[in-house]
């Protein structure tokens, strides 16, 4: 049997790596990939907790895995729109550096 606390710890570590990627990198592609990594860490936590509470009165309970499928759908939509924004930004600025995009900053 897997050590479940280590599964949740793995999820927390991956989430932190994703947060640090968003906070420190300036390449928009890497920022989008870090967001994907955070979504994956949340998925891992969902699957792990679903494994802990795997049944209700002897019947399999898999609601956590349904949520994971929904998160995957949201991630796919997010990547499509995010990469569209990246293409538009590259066309206008000729760069993917997020610090150069400061039109709305005051």
């Amino acid at each position: 049997m897997l050590p479940m606390d280590h599964v949740i710890a793995l999820s927390a570590i991956l989430f932190t790596i994703g947060v640090l990627g968003v906070a420190t990198r300036r390449n928009l592609i890497v920022i989008l990939m870090s967001i994907e990594l955070m979504l994956n860490a949340v998925n891992l936590a969902f699957v792990g907790f679903n494994r802990i509470w795997s049944q209700v009165d002897g019947v399999a309970a898999i609601d956590g895995q349904i949520f994971v499928l929904m998160v995957i759908a949201v991630a796919a939509a997010e990547v499509a729109v995010g990469l569209g924004i990246l293409l538009a930004m590259f066309r206008n600025r000729d760069s993917v550096n997020v610090e150069e995009v400061n039109l709305l900053k005051w």
Partner: protein
């Protein structure tokens, strides 16, 4: 230590190392995307070890296949092999972020060690846990509204991506 546990540590370590490689690699964006593939596939293996078989299949097909290929496609399209940007102007904010992130992670890890939830190993899974039949029945009965909302979201994303990526809107 059982074979399952050894495999979990193997794939978990692989996922963490390749995630770090993705975030820390500033010279080669293509290698960064390929590190993300390794993370996704090892997470798929961890899902298999957690007996979530359908989710593992979706993880490898959707994340390892579709999403990462989309990233790779854009990197190749824009020819972004390196990102040699001028030095950042926001060093203070970024180091504050790093310190806060690591502090929160340490708190979570310490709290995990004291949680009574993890004191006993989880019981064996019931028949049909994580298979396509169970997931399919639940998706089309209890969660049918969620499926409809996801389809609307994907439609909106397709239209949005088309409009954003178009050169000029006629």
């Amino acid at each position: 230590m059982t074979a399952e546990t050894i495999l979990f540590y193997l794939f978990g370590g692989l996922a963490v190392i390749s995630a770090l490689g993705m975030v820390l690699n500033t010279r080669n964006t293509v290698a960064s995307v390929l590190s993300l593939v390794v993370t996704m596939v090892s997470l798929g293996a961890v899902y298999l070890l957690l007996e979530a078989y359908l989710v593992a299949a979706f993880q490898i097909m959707v994340y390892g296949g579709a999403i990462v290929v989309l990233f790779l496609f854009v990197v190749m399209l824009l020819n972004l092999s390196t990102d040699e940007f001028p030095p950042s102007k926001q060093r203070l904010i970024k180091s504050a972020f790093v310190i806060a992130g690591v502090a929160i992670l340490a708190q979570i890890l310490i709290a995990l060690g004291h949680d009574p939830l993890f004191a006993t190993p989880p019981e064996a899974v019931p028949e049909g846990y994580g298979g396509y039949r169970q997931v399919g029945i639940l998706l089309y009965t209890d969660y049918v509204l969620l499926v409809e909302m996801a389809s609307l979201l994907l439609l909106a994303a397709i239209v949005g991506a088309l409009i954003l990526a178009k050169r000029k809107i006629d």
